[in-house]
Amino acid sequence: MSIRTEPVTMNVGPIHPSTHGVFRMRVTFDGEEIIDVEPVIGYLHRGSEKLAEERTYTQVVTLTDRMDYVASMTNNQSYILSVEKLAGITPSPRGVWLRMIASELQRIASHAVANGFLINDLGAWHTPLLYMLREREKILEMFEMLCGARITNSYLRPGGVFMDAPDQFWPALNRFLDEMPHRIDDIENLLSTNEIVLIRTQNVGVLKKDECLNASITGPVLRASGVDWDLRHKNPYDYYDQISFSRPLGEIGDNHDRFLVRIFEMRESLKILRQCIENIQPGPVRPKEVPFLVRPPKGDSYVPIESPKGELGFYLVSDGGVSPFRCHVRAPSFINLTLLREMVLGDKIADLFVTFGSLDVNMGEVDR
């Protein structure tokens, strides 16, 4: 006897608990097995690139905050580096160190959120997520000390940062650096040896090295597949060339490797932060001669940086005016979505969300 079956097509999203925003997938199931996935994006499209063409170079900083709202400091950094290259501004050393501290803190926060939500997609009742958010909260508080906002920072300016760190920032940072390793250990105890997490994530959503590179996938996802490609190391921007750190590399490139690579990168970021604190010297945070209205000469610039999600770069074209002629964002989470279909084909429904979560996609950045 044969049972007649037929595939079911279902809309997952745009309103769904684990699509991390307004992402929509048109999924076709055969029983529990996925036979087709088509991502549909654009529900959060705000036209940031067009808006940037009507704003001055300083005002665009506020737009970049809102692209990847989990990692706005690195967005600022990438944009500012592009502007500095375009306008030929030499930043102040203290400003550069400060923005490195800010971006490494942001990396920890972003990875914490990514891993927390990944485990939430696995179905843990928000517990690891809340532990991660607890640590992120401390980082956001430090951001509030630095720049008066927790998420939409707008802390960086062409030439450095807008204001020196207040006195209370340094003790808070040191306390955080002392506490954080124990918190990461806690999370590892809770999850890294947990048999349920292991059987759920291992050998699921495997990305091979070549596929990854060919699809322009960057960041922790690429490193989890075993490619040693970290722009902080390979193409050091700011003062990353003065800092020694190691890059965690996975071997297989499945969801578990991506999870572990993020955990290890949080530890490495703590190391970088310690070296930043050792190296930072008093001085001005921003050169006096940088005007409020930057007018770069004609030309274009593209400075990719290693954001928590991957290679993030702003391609700016100037026509000599006060606002960019064209501003293109190379958004890592947008491009990391390229292989989503190939990753989940043949897996079960439950794995779809775990794989999607392990890519660490931020819809604000995907749709811009």
Partner: protein
């Protein structure tokens, strides 16, 4: 009727209603009953109704308490406070929840199968309430002492599979259908290890009556046969659709699974049924494995039962706060490849031990316990090796994170 009269509570109410020879005078506080013995059946019915009323209301209050307790406790597990605004320590939060649920708009989708859609939540609650009938809440405090009590519980709990399937099918929603089908697959599979785990208990007790099971627990069966306890606990968690087996609801995958289209009081009934099932299942586990109301007689037996009951519920909440969800095929694998065999091993071990010591003394009981624990660890180790996570990939690539200097 005789077994019913063993219950203190029943006798107490009954003797105030009926003037009967069965009643000992010391039981009466307010004088003798007003119904003559000829019509004692009326008194019997009225007593039953009163007790049912008490029990159902008690169960509802228990659900409210559980909602509050679960939210507070999960809050604390997650290093936050939980609801604490409405009333002292937030104890009125479930009341507010109940009021909110009642006043929500009752929506039934156009594509739904109306009859099935409405019937499903009702079917969810009734079987759970029926479990309470056979649970002894203390020494000589029970509604009825069914001589097939364990069988009754196993039979009754399996009907909520039907309710979940009806809800999933009736709502005409694809998430609902997937949730309902998952539920059928999972709940039916876990009936078997659950029943087989109970067999170990029945073997030792020599009776299907829950009172007899409790009385036979000189050493609580949780300690005596850890394998049986573990499998029963896991199977019960799965039967309850609680984390880590909540694939039927699967918030992060199926939104709310079979409950997706339900709103208002229909949703409330599902909620009620689920929480009541947690309470009932904890009571069953306490009776079968933790010695029921037995305990040192410093405090009354009812309190022993209550303490064990609450602790058992807390363990369920603890599991929910800690474990991620299993995938559907892994859940089936666990049921058929691990729990099924483990329960068989347990039955075999218990049976052989009983053959060796047909009438064990306390010392012999402890020796049996020790042997059972050895079997427990050995079998867990073997099954972990066979079914646990494999560190290597299929083609033999070893897994490690390399720190590139």
């Amino acid at each position: 009727m005789n077994t019913v009269m063993d219950s203190v509570v029943f006798k107490f109410i009954y003797c105030h209603l009926v003037s009967s020879n069965e009643c000992v005078d010391s039981f009466r506080i307010l004088g003798s009953g007003f119904i003559s013995e000829k019509y004692s059946i009326i008194g019997f019915l009225i007593t039953s109704l009163i007790l049912i009323l008490i029990l159902i209301n008690g169960a509802l209050v228990g659900v409210l308490a559980l909602i509050w307790g679960e939210r507070r406790l999960i809050g604390r597990f997650q290093a936050r406070l939980g609801p604490n605004r409405w009333g002292p320590w937030g104890i009125f939060t479930p009341v507010a929840d109940a009021i909110k649920v009642m006043f929500k708009e009752d929506i039934s989708p156009r594509l739904s199968d109306k009859f099935v859609f409405v019937l499903a939540p009702v079917l969810m609650v009734i079987p759970v309430l029926m479990i309470f009938a056979v649970i002894p809440f203390g020494k000589a405090t029970f509604l009825t002492d069914l001589n097939v009590g364990v069988l009754f519980i196993l039979a009754i709990t399996s009907t909520n599979t039907l309710s979940v399937l009806m809800a999933g099918w009736g709502s005409g929603n694809r998430y609902g259908i997937i949730g309902g089908l998952r539920a059928v697959a999972m709940l039916l599979s876990y009936e078997i290890p659950m029943a087989l785990a109970a067999v170990g208990v029945i073997l030792m007790a020599g009776s299907l009556s829950i009172i007899k099971v409790i009385e036979s627990q000189t050493i609580p069966f949780a300690i005596f046969q850890p394998l049986g306890f573990l499998t029963f606990l896991i199977a019960a968690t799965a039967e309850l659709n609680r984390s880590p087996f909540d694939i039927t609801e699967a918030e992060s995958e199926l939104i709310a699974g079979y409950m997706t289209e339900y709103s208002s009081m229909k949703f409330g009934l599902f909620f009620l049924g689920e929480f009541m099932a947690t309470i009932a299942a904890s009571a069953v586990i306490v009776c079968l494995f933790l010695g029921g109301w037995r305990g040192p007689e410093i405090i009354p037996s009812h309190f022993w039962f209550l303490i064990k009951w609450i602790l058992m519920i807390c363990v369920f909440i603890w599991f929910r706060a800690t474990f991620p969800r299993l995938r559907v095929d892994q859940i089936m694998e666990l049921a058929w490849k691990a729990l099924f065999e483990l329960t068989l091993i347990n039955i075999l071990a218990v049976a052989i031990l009983m053959l060796i010591w047909p009438d064990p003394t306390i010392l012999e009981l402890w020796i049996m316990t020790g042997i059972n624990w050895i079997i427990f660890f050995v079998s867990l180790w073997i099954f972990g090796k066979l079914l646990g996570p494999k560190p290597e990939q299929k083609d033999g690539v070893s897994r490690k994170i390399v720190l590139q200097k």
